[in-house]
Each structure stands twice: as C-alpha cells, then as structure tokens.
C-alpha cells in the first residue's frame, strides 16, 4: 500500500498541533547549539533541515538505560514488582531514511528467538515519518549497503521536500495512515509533476555482498590490526550507531530497593568479553574491531538475512581518531 498526498508547510503545522493536542510524544532531529540531537519537538520549525543527528534515533525503541526488573528487600525475602515499558505513543518525525531502516536490524535481534517485550512495545507505539535525504557527506554510504537516500523501508510515511516548500507524503503503512489522518483537512492531492528537491547523491563505495564473501577468508588478515592501530577502544561508534544492539544488564540499588537496568554496551570495549577468570577471548583491540565488522557484515547476513549496518556514517563522524567505516569496508571488500 502506498498513497501519496501533498503536505504543505501549513499542513505540517496542523499535524504537529494535532499530535501535541492528542498527547503524542514527537521526537525528531533538532538543531541544538552545537549539534543536531534527537529530541522532543513541539513545532515543525524546530526540525533540523539537513544533516544528521550525532546520536541515532534508536533510543526511541531501545533506550540508553531502561528498567527491566524492579525489586524490594523484605527481610530475607525479595519482592519483584511488575515492570512495564514506559512507551508513550511516539512519532519519530523528520529522521533520515537510514535511521528508519535501522529499526529492522534491531528487530531481528530482539525477536529472532525470545521476544523482547520492552523493544516490541516501544516499536509498536512508534510511528516513523522519515524525510528523503537531500544532503550527504563523505561518511555516508547507504548506497553500498543496499539502500538509497530516498529509501522508504522502515518508514510509515516518507516525506520528500518540494522545491516550493512543503512535502509529498508517501503513506506506506496503517500506522502512517492513522497519523496522516490527523491532518486530514489540511491535506492536498499530490502534484501531478512533483517538483521535489532531488535526493542526495551517494556514490557506492563497495558492494556489501562482495564484502561478505571476502570476509569469509579474511578473518586472519593483517588488515584488522592495520585498520585498528589507532582505535582508542572508546566505544563512541557503538554509542551513536542506529543498529548496534549489544547491551549490558546492571543492578542499581540502595539498601531497600533496586532496579535491574539494561544499558547500551559495545563489543569495542575490553571488558565486554572479559571472563571472571581473567581470560579474554577478544583481548586485543584489533580483535574487537574485527568483531564489529564481522558481526555487522558477515554474522548478521548469515544469521538474520540482513545487514547490521545502514550506512548512515554516524560512527565515522563521531570517531575521535577519524576511523572511517566506509573506507575501511571498501578496503576489506578489495583484494
């Protein structure tokens, strides 16, 4: 299903007002003092026009810190309290298509075997309105991982900016239909020859299928050491990544009660795999860098029939020592 209509600037305003009035939480890329952040927005004018948020929107469905279990001590006993995900109806408005597409890579992990109710409840309560990307930079590589700047995969509604202002809205799902209905009176039929701002040009840097084939015989290649010699093991790449799903579970408690929390984690950190005995299966940073690449580009396709990467380039932009994933992968896909 896919229906198109025109959403004028005024209609976007109407939609926002309707959303706020009906108690929806609206999140989107917001221009901050120093960077674009995914934050709560009240009016469409707060949306960052172009460029990417530093940290991804994955926190909408997989928060940085989330309570899984709550308990109280009662003498020698412990009482567990029921914990429900706090998942208000949410619209993720104005994110780039790469962000929208990333939710699938999270979904496969949270549901391939045991079903994660925390993730599922949030995802079910989230409607994604993406905007076709009109500005890419040297870190972007969506076209190398089977996508494109105006990809509609993962979006409930995909907006394409019209040159004269406003958007063409392509409604892709029932969730999208329900959302756009809030602006019903303000909607207009789509232009016959829509004059949209052309999507950004992202030249393919490598072929993900070729990369996967190459990785099969490159596990012991010196490449991983060469590429990661400058890696600090800081984990910033995983922190900003829309698909990195690795997490930790930690307790936080006082003398009477406590919470068991899920927190983002990263395979790039040394402690991640450290055994209690002191043995560490991935003791060197090069092994951890290799795991990051293999997990996303070899193990994911093998196991989940999808890539663990959407080519957004956030990791490269956030890396304090300028490791560039696109370049490193292009290198690995050669030879």
């Amino acid at each position: 299903m896919s229906e198109k209509s025109t959403l004028t600037e005024a209609a976007v305003g109407t939609l926002f007002d309707a959303l706020v009035k009906s108690g929806w939480r609206v999140l989107g890329p917001k221009e901050g003092a120093e960077r674009i952040e995914i934050a709560e927005i009240k009016t469409a004018t707060e949306l960052a026009k172009d460029g990417q948020s530093v940290v991804s929107a994955k926190g909408t469905v997989f928060p940085k810190v989330e309570r899984l279990v709550k308990y109280r001590y009662e003498g020698k006993n412990v009482a567990l309290e029921d914990v429900q995900p706090n998942a208000a109806p949410t619209v993720l408005f104005g994110v780039r298509p790469c962000e929208a597409r990333a939710f699938h890579a999270l979904d496969v992990v949270f549901n391939w075997d045991y079903k994660d109710t925390f993730f599922n409840t949030r995802l079910a309560n989230t409607t994604v309105v993406a905007i076709s990307c009109t500005q890419a930079d040297e870190s972007c590589f969506c076209t190398s991982v089977g996508s494109r700047p105006d990809d509609s995969a993962g979006s409930d509604i995909l907006l394409s900016r019209l040159k004269g202002g406003g958007y063409v809205a392509e409604v892709l799902t029932d969730k999208g239909k329900a959302l756009i209905a809030l602006a019903k009176g303000a909607l207009q039929p789509p232009p016959i020859t829509p004059d949209v701002v052309p999507p950004a040009t992202v030249a393919p840097a490598f072929d993900a299928k070729v990369l996967e084939q190459k990785l099969a015989s490159k596990f012991d290649s010196p490449l991983w050491l060469e590429q990661s010699l400058r890696c600090l093991g800081c984990g910033a790449c995983a922190y900003v990544c829309p698909t990195c799903v690795c997490f930790s579970i930690e307790d936080e408690a006082d003398t009477r009660q406590g919470d068991r929390l899920r927190t983002w984690d990263s395979c790039g950190l040394r402690m991640f795999t450290l055994h209690a005995s002191g043995h560490n299966p991935r003791d060197k940073q090069s092994q951890r860098w290799r795991q990051r690449v293999y997990h996303k580009f070899a193990y994911y396709p093998d196991r989940f029939k999808t890539l663990g990467c959407v080519g957004c380039g956030k990791c490269s932009r956030a890396c304090p020592v300028d490791m560039n994933l696109k370049q490193h992968l292009a290198e690995a896909a050669q030879g």
Binding site: L68, V69, Y71, Y73, K76, N77, V78, L80, D82, V83, V109, F110, W112, D113, Y114, K115, D116, T117, F118, N120, T121, F219, V245, C246, F247, S248, I249, E250, D251, A253, G258, R260, R262, D265, C267, F272, T273, L274, H275, A276, S277, H279, P281, R282, Q287, Q291, Y294, H295, A298, Y299, D302, R303
Partner: protein
Amino acid sequence: MEANIYKPYLMRIAAITDEAPGVRTFRLEFADAKDGEAFQFKTGQFGLYSAFGEGESTFCIASSPTRKGYIECTFRETGRVTSSLADKDVGDTIGFRGPYGNVFPLEKWKGKNLIFVAGGIALPPLRSVIWNCLDLRDCFKDITVVYGARGVNDLVYKHELEEWGKRTDMKLVTTVDPGGEKPGWSGKVGFVPHIVEQLAPPAANTVAIVCGPPIMIKLTLPVLAKLGFGKDEVYTTLENRMKCGLGKCGRCNTGRSYVCKDGPVYTLAELEKLPAEY
C-alpha cells in the same frame, strides 16, 4: 502482552556447601512452589543467577535433572556478584533466570562408553551430566571420570568424589598438579592431559566430554585425537561471558554462533568451525 523475559525466579537458598577455598555450592528451591513444579531443564543448560542489588552471573546448573525439587549451582567468589552471593546464608533469596542453551545429547550416547575429563572449577557443568548418566546407569556402558585440580584442596565435590571412587559401576581417576599433593594423597600427580594419555581409554564406541581451563582443553584434545576419538565424539561446554542468556546482548557471540543459544555444548567438530574467540 509478552512476558518479561528478564524477570527472574525467586529462589531460596536451602543449603550451602563449601567445596574448596572460595568455591561454594548452593542448593536452591523455588520460593513459589508453583514455579518449581513447572520448571524443567536438561543437563548441559545454564542460568543467570542474581544477587539483588549487585547483578547477575552466568553459571551452569550443576545438579542433575533426575534430582527433582531443587537446582544447584557451584561458583567461585571472583567479582561483585559472586562475592555478594558468597555472603548469603541459608534462607536468603536470590534470583535465577533459565534454563538456557542447548543440552548434552544423552539419547545419542545410549549404549556407549563415556569418559568425562574435567579440570578445576569446570567439574560443576560435568557433574550435572555425570549424575544424570549415573542415575540412568543402565543406558550406558563404561563410565570413566578423570578430574584434576591444582592442589588437593582445590578439588570440588570432595564427598562426591569419595562416593564415586567407591562405586564399582564407574571408574574415577583424580589427579593434582605436581606440587599440589598432600601427605596421604592417594590419587595421581600430573596434569590432566598426561593422565588421560596414560589411561589411554579406547576410542571405539566411546564419547569424551571435556571441560576445563582453556589450556587443559587445548592440550587434552590432541591426546584424544591420537587415541582415535572422532571430532563428533568429543564434547565440551563453553563458558563465554554473557549478560542476557537469550541471544541478544551480543557478549557470547563467536562467529555466527551465540554460545547462549547454539551452545554452551559443542562437539569438537562444531567448535572447529568457530573462530577461536572463546
């Protein structure tokens, strides 16, 4: 709505046994009897044990599924969670999630000889399957256990070793590293791989189950290969670090395998397909 997969069972500590310096066994009973009645596991599986306020740790279920009404775990006091667990008394409440992971394929082993090779704190996962096989003794042919530790004090389940040593329907060989013996020690002195080599169990119709520190496993596997054990007849159980046990948190991921889902039990043939990140 789907159930909360992270919610633990509440378990009451029914008994505590000191096994070796820093090593304890808890016998755990379900605080809610209904949970206990519904609970089932198979040998080889593990769980996440939690000290509320400190966190969760991964250990195997060290008791046999043939022993109903309780589970046991054996752990060494090492970090934050295990230190807190070690402070607990009988009657205290801890958390347990599980059972997780795959199992030792006892059905496949029927009618075969079994040789168990364990080192140090790695006897607990094998203790579950050893008792399981002993409780179904008629299903298997010869059962041999080779168990070594650094020193006499470090051997775990000392009372059970004594019991196994007296049984006529199984063979127990205990050993300690050179220098680890004490006056009156009647077992062997020497490293586990050498003892297995000396013992030279015939490989025909025999399954070997090996668990121990990485170095012990590394040196025992070539011995078994020399004795003629096929790669599908050698089993081990991995102990990668885990947080969820549910195939999500990513810690135990090794190659395409999630140790918590595809393991912890692997044959040597399966293990050789994984990168050596365990």
